[in-house]
Symmetry: C2
Subunit: 593 residues, 2 copies
């Protein structure tokens, strides 16, 4: 069975050596002293390794069951959920007013990565609740907040997000679920929603569904969509539970992975719902939390990659097979461990450099969300909005690839379910799809975010990279060669791609959109390149300062050099593809596919 060890030291390095959290000037960050964050991360790590990780394969094997309208979660999930609630983990970054601990989103992200790495399907129950609670926090009336948030912050009640219908996922303007206004100001919600993660289960007394629906007589299409609070069990004015609402589970989907999470078809049959936010502004309300939600999915890409990588390393060290081509390394054994072989190392370095770079990218993104929310920093908000599709799309595409590589290290033992490596790929696969499929992320990036606010944010990004390069070059020849020069080249490729879009996208938008997936990937590489440069520099500084654990920092530098030499140059390929334009992409009539 796989194991998981929380990367506390690595996270501490990013928080304190790279992001310099306590001096970052973001409200609340002054509390994030190294000793404090270490204590929180150690504690979370223990729960993840000891409690959630062992339940990961149980969830995969048992899945959720629906009998007589009741959904049962896998053995051990409820007890573990109780323990997580008792620890107060779900409310870590929620307001104290509603029972939370008001910690920065940054710390929630670090802890979230661990939870997700140890048991993605399990963690989604609280993840969805967090998302729903955040939407109520942002758009609810004081009454709604008081009524729902204390129970949701504690996860006594969980939450869901209901967007997709059988005939529409991305294009929600086609939605058919109806909301009929009632005299008391409530609505009767009727329709079917599909793919509802954590849609029903036996781990909470109530489930607060957030449901998109169209108010009868409202505008057509996406402009007529509103958001509603639809409790599974009606909540009385005194907060006690009343009668069951008209919400039922049609079925549980059979899926490729995340079996431990109940993905439900939800039927709303004149269910009582309450408008959340403004009439016909449902999309805006639902998408307020989009940066966080998508960062949370990007995090799943990194977390599954890390969990899979840790086990691949173990296997590569244990499994004796063949001999090193440069001479026997394990003379007392019948063969050398896999890890002596260059192509095994190539794969492990791909995984390691992606995971650590991706983690830094996520945590950096979280600081921008904190700056936006806690200090109303418009530039940070603009920049993280630009980067959100990159965080989501690039980190889940690559995260999935890394789980496939980790599985490959096991050979045939990776294909059978016994070792758990198949589960990592099957679970990681969903992150490329939900919360906006990665093609939609690429479209959002190129079709919308690049031009947002007159292109201000992408220009700010390039300016930031340029300044970073300027401020950090010329001090160390090796650092310039190994980190600065590759970053400069990759950033230049990215700018050239943006320039191509500007020059050609005006004539024909397909010239930009045909390159959107490549652009998202090259943007991701540049961001990870920037992260590795920053981590490399921080490591050099630590070594120059006489850090006691020199090996840790030297390993960081070596891993960064690998990324810069072997992964970052992919930007040139993406640029070539982009510059080939849309003609070859769009040449065929649909009938000729």
């Amino acid at each position: 069975m796989p194991r998981y060890t929380a990367p506390v030291k690595d996270m501490q390095f990013v928080l304190h050596d790279v992001l310099n959290t306590t001096t970052a000037g973001i409200p609340g960050y002054d509390e994030l002293e190294p000793e404090f964050t270490a204590a929180v991360l150690e504690e979370a790590g223990k729960i993840c390794s000891d409690l959630l990780q062992p339940l990961n394969s149980v969830g995969d094997q048992e899945g959720c069951t629906l009998e007589n309208g009741i959904v049962r979660t896998p053995t051990g999930f409820k007890a573990a959920f109780d323990q997580v609630k008792e620890g107060g983990w779900p409310g870590l970054d929620m307001p104290e007013q509603y029972g939370g601990q008001n910690m920065p989103y940054l710390l929630g992200t670090a802890v979230g990565e661990m939870f997700s790495a140890s048991n993605q399907a399990f963690t989604m129950y609280q993840g969805l609740t967090h998302g729903a609670a955040s939407a109520i926090l942002a758009h609810g009336t004081e009454e709604q907040k008081d009524k729902y948030l204390p129970k949701m912050v504690s996860c006594e009640w969980t939450g869901t997000m209901n967007l997709t219908e059988p005939h529409c996922g991305t294009d929600l303007g086609l939605m058919r679920t109806k909301a009929a206004p009632q005299e008391d100001g409530s609505y009767k919600i009727t329709g079917q929603k599909i793919f509802i993660s954590a849609g029903d289960h036996d781990m909470a007394d109530n489930i607060i569904h957030l449901v998109l629906a169209k108010i009868e007589g409202g505008p057509a299409g996406i402009k007529g969509v509103s958001l509603f609070i639809v409790p599974k069990v009606n909540v009385n004015d005194d907060g006690s539970l009343g009668a069951r609402n008209g919400v039922s589970v049609g079925s549980i989907e059979e899926k490729m992975g995340i079996h431990g999470n109940s993905t439900c078809v939800m039927n709303y049959d004149e269910a009582t719902g309450y408008l959340l936010g403004d009439e016909h502004k449902g999309m805006r309300a639902m998408f307020t939390m989009m940066n966080e939600a998508r960062l949370g999915v990007g995090m799943q890409g990194v977390s599954q990659a890390d969990a899979a990588y840790q086990n691949a390393v173990d296997y590569a060290k244990d499994r004796l097979q063949g001999r090193a081509v440069t001479g026997v390394e394990n003379p007392d054994g019948p063969a050398d461990p896999l890890i002596v072989h260059p192509d095994i190392r190539r794969s492990l370095m791909d995984q390691k450099s992606f995971t650590e770079g991706g983690r830094a990218f996520l945590l950096w993104g979280a600081t921008m969300i904190d700056a936006a929310h806690r200090a109303n920093d418009k530039d940070a908000d603009g920049l993280v909005s630009l980067l959100t599709p990159v965080i989501k799309g690039f980190l889940t595409d690559k995260g999935y690839d890394m789980t496939v590589q980790a599985q490959q290290i096991y050979g045939g033992h990776g294909y059978i379910e016994e070792h758990g490596m198949s589960q990592y790929t099957r679970d990681a696969r969903i992150a490329m799809i939900y919360e906006g499929a990665n093609g939609v992320q690429a479209l959002d990036l190129v079709g919308r975010k690049l031009a947002q606010d007159g292109g201000k944010h992408v220009m700010a990004f390039f300016e930031m990279v340029k300044n970073y390069i300027k401020e950090n070059s010329g001090q160390d020849e090796a650092f310039d060669r190994d980190f600065i020069e590759p970053l400069k080249a990759a950033s230049k490729d990215l700018q050239a791609a943006g320039m191509y879009f500007m020059q050609n996208g005006m004539k024909n938008p397909n010239h930009a959109l045909a390159g959107s997936n490549d652009f998202m990937h090259m943007f991701g590489h540049v961001c990870l390149g920037l992260m590795w440069a920053r981590m490399g520099k921080a490591s050099l500084d630590a070594l120059a300062g006489g850090a006691s654990d020199a090996t840790f920092y030297e390993t960081k530098l070596a891993t960064g050099r690998y990324y810069m030499a072997r992964q970052l140059p992919a930007t040139a390929m993406h640029l070539t593809r982009i510059q080939s334009g849309a003609d070859t992409v769009m040449a065929l009539d649909a009938a000729n596919f």
Copy 2:
């Protein structure tokens, strides 16, 4: 449920317009007239679409079961297997002497792609039998051939290959299964083998296991391994079945995919076995058929990609979601079909250009195997040996990626099992692992095949590409620009990589092996680039000759242009990685991963 349509027209194009089969001068190819191959392919296609494809998801959902030592295949498998046997398909390319039809391996490959595309798990039962029969054909005594082959060619009895043991897969020298010589010339085989595809089932009267084992007292390691025929049921001298042999199924593995195939733990307990080939030369005997076996696995990569692609195209045409950015294309519908969106097309073109290019590569490879076997053509044998790891590794890595892309087109509907797209990725995943994991293919290519016969074969490959370019340039400006120039650039990259290996691999073999995976991929791209140039040229010729179906050939040209512009340039990235050498790959101590 997915559908599958056999690509008969596309195969006919490759066989007759590109490979010019009837005039290729390979013994037996003169029979392969277009009308004849069309009839065979149409007939095979019908069985695949109507009989095997509908059983594909049944196999996935039911899997195989083991009860009281008896393995049961999924509902419908046995009846379908009987029908396939009756049609004589298993013996298509086997000698007439043993009941086969003596068709070229080329035709068997085309038919095999269809079988595999419609139902990989099912097709493996006959695929393994074919491999075992081929080994007996090559190494058996006349008595052994007469005893086993007629029943195996017809699939009345099936076959297996037993290599892997719990502690060794790639490194078979560590093998523990023992063979004790008996006075009658037979052996008692004792040991455990794992991951035995088609290891046991209820579709044949007998199963002929080919088992690698060490004869007691023989040389240590791989030099002491011999190959044995171990029937599940002993065969009397008159050909009738005798008592059960000491062979039993320990368990059936739970796997990520190919659930319809029984992957067994096989226990040999003093089972009676008969030496096949020479004592201690088991590896040689087992690997005689390696080029074919690995080409067969490469074929699975292409076949799963094609089946998944066909369904992704259907979905992209049917599913209405969003509007084309260049203007509404389906004004009477609520939205445009997915296929209007550039990134959907990008993905479909990736899939289409890979599948058709990969198919041409496979069929070209099959002609070399025929030339080697039927005309004793040493150059063809050398070239296909060089290309075999590329065919296996590149086509299964990419084939898997394409199934993931096809699944992605379906969004959330691709993640649930209902639509069958998950099965394509789960089934395709195994092909990257078995018959030598792809890292081992890359090692074989760089560590062994490049230098084989003094590097003669790789030089012949480059010479061939050079001659092709020379003979086909300067005639058509557009063809030169779209096909010849990209091929020239990619081939130059590949040569530069080979040069890097030569110059640096001598000093330190890690400099070559750290780039082996990249080299395998760039070699694959160059081969597909060559195939696309040949297909493009054939299409131009057909159009110039006034071909009636101009759209077919124009579509080929457009698909080829896509590959050359968007896929082939990956060679530059692989070269950059290779030229970065082994230092960043090998930098870390194992303890620091």
